[in-house]
Amino acid sequence: MLKPTSYLTHSYGLTDGFTLANYEKHNGYSQVRKALAMSREAVTDEVKKAHVRGRGGAGFDCGVKWSFMPKESKKPHYLVINADEGEPGTFKDRSIMELNPHSVIEGCMIACWGIGAHACYIYVRDELHLAKKRLEDAIREAKGKGYLGRTPFGRPWELEMYVHTGAGAYICGEETALLNSLEGRRGEPRIKPPFPAQYGAFACPTTVNNVETVAILPTVLQLGGDAFSKLSSLHHFNDGGVRLFGVSGHVKNPGIYEACVGLTLRELIYDLGGGILGDRELLGVIPGGSSCPVHLPGEVVNVPSDPRFAPFNGKSILDLPLGVETFRTVGSMLGTCGAIVLSDAADPVIAIQNLMRFYRHESCGQCTPCREGCGWIERILNKIIEGKGSIAELDQIHEIANDIGGNTICAFGDGAAQPALAFVRRYRKHFEDYILNGGKLQTRRLTVS
């Protein structure tokens, strides 16, 4: 159900929306004060009640993740913020950092209190120079006011916050690769376990949270966990509150929209996105960043085993509320809620070739199935598009993708295999047309005109 909100985005249109003065005008930094008057456990419990599902793509419950941190520990605890946004179709974190950076800082402070950390590193991808500057300025402003440093708000609870930059590697958005990169190493994912909560940054207990996940925490405390969760129409799926939805590609009004969880793809594409560019037909939509499978508008929800799906069974997937559990249950993935829309002008074969080039380029090279497999799929797609492919090779894409999935250290492999499988399954006749007829019936382009 479309219920627009503006907890994070109210500052987006303002010329001084990113300043401390504006943030404090809207009650900024009042919630961290409240948190500091509560116990660490009470803050974590409030966040658990809010059912904040991680906004970075995996959708893990934020409060539950915090509760994995040791209660007593001789080692320092760290909070690391994943701001290495780079998943095609995802562009929400950049907007928060540039236009509402103090919500990130306040959220980090609440999170540090919740997990018992005294230092926070915000890992921002290098390309986002304005975001880095805005965060650094915000940290400086907060420090100047005595909110950070040796005695934040006059309390003997030292807290330092730093912006750390990457150097251009999508894989560093994977949390253990990010930790390696933070430590000054090549950004190669680590084998889990041990998990970061036991052995994270600098071999110490660490929580890695997404930018949007922490930025919404002041709102969680302001409303109270339960009330926040109930803003969502998927509260009964333990998926609470509000989040930022992105839509890009062939829509009239691409952009970021804040709304209660439970929005549908149809609302995102047609109500918020303004409909398909050139009023064309919808060919397919990737629901939440390029690692999610593409869906056809004709796909129907059918989950008879779960009574919570009764209102959605028999309806189009476009009318299924966007939630972590709802999309996982139908064999899809919510990811980061950044939908990529393809109209019927777009050629799905070229679209997946584009994405496989991305995955081949960004594979870190550690695991053979991913390093080699992504390249093999890309080369088969190149051959098919050149008219030199065969049906046997098309079938081989399934085989290669299935051999990548589940056989790598990190989720990148699955993230690359999943879109490849979804495209070849759902658009098989488009691929066959290239092989059998030289692609005569295909548009051979991605743009609308």
């Binding site: 179709g89 390309e127 090549r186 600098f202 990529i340 743009t447």
Partner: protein
């Protein structure tokens, strides 16, 4: 000639190192600082310098440099232009933007203009999909690009001091 940072930049390096529990963690920020001081590329001398400053092996620093796309192992032009070509931008015409840049500059993606002013590159997702097509010029994003705007940007880069 051996590479060294200016006094001011060396002070900045000291500040960076102090943020972390060990020196190795400063590798990437230190390389950024040195790359900028060295005409936007990381030479073997820079690697030696960073390794020495952070008490690391040159092999470790070289390993880091070769992993990350944004450390240049050759000197680029004075300005670097990245055209995003991943799906959301491609759906909005990034191919035309890139082809236009190549034609106007008389080079292919990956090359530098003869006068050494502009290096043209492709980028994989700049996280600005809602304002596609997008390109990054040095440290600035240009979004919702039209060919006319690209012309203006490139003219400025080719002319300006």
């Amino acid at each position: 000639m051996a590479f060294a940072l200016s006094v001011e930049r060396e002070r900045q390096l000291g500040e960076i190192v102090a943020r972390y529990p060990n020196k190795m963690a400063a590798t990437i920020p230190a390389l950024h600082l040195c790359q900028e001081a060295n005409g936007n590329w990381v030479s073997d001398e820079v690697i030696d310098y960073v390794a020495k400053k952070l008490e690391l092996s040159t092999a470790h620093v070289k390993g880091v440099v070769t992993f990350y796309t944004l450390f240049n192992q050759q000197q680029p032009g004075r300005h670097q232009v990245w055209v995003c070509r991943t799906l959301s931008c491609a759906l909005r015409g990034s191919d035309k933007i890139l082809a236009h840049c190549e034609k106007k500059l008389g080079i292919d993606a990956g090359q530098t203009t003869k006068n050494g002013r502009v290096t043209l590159r492709t980028a994989e997702c700049l996280a600005a999909c809602g304002t596609a097509p997008v390109m990054q010029v040095d440290k600035t994003y240009f979004e919702n690009l039209s060919l006319e705007e690209v012309d203006k940007i490139l003219d400025r880069l080719m002319r300006e001091a």
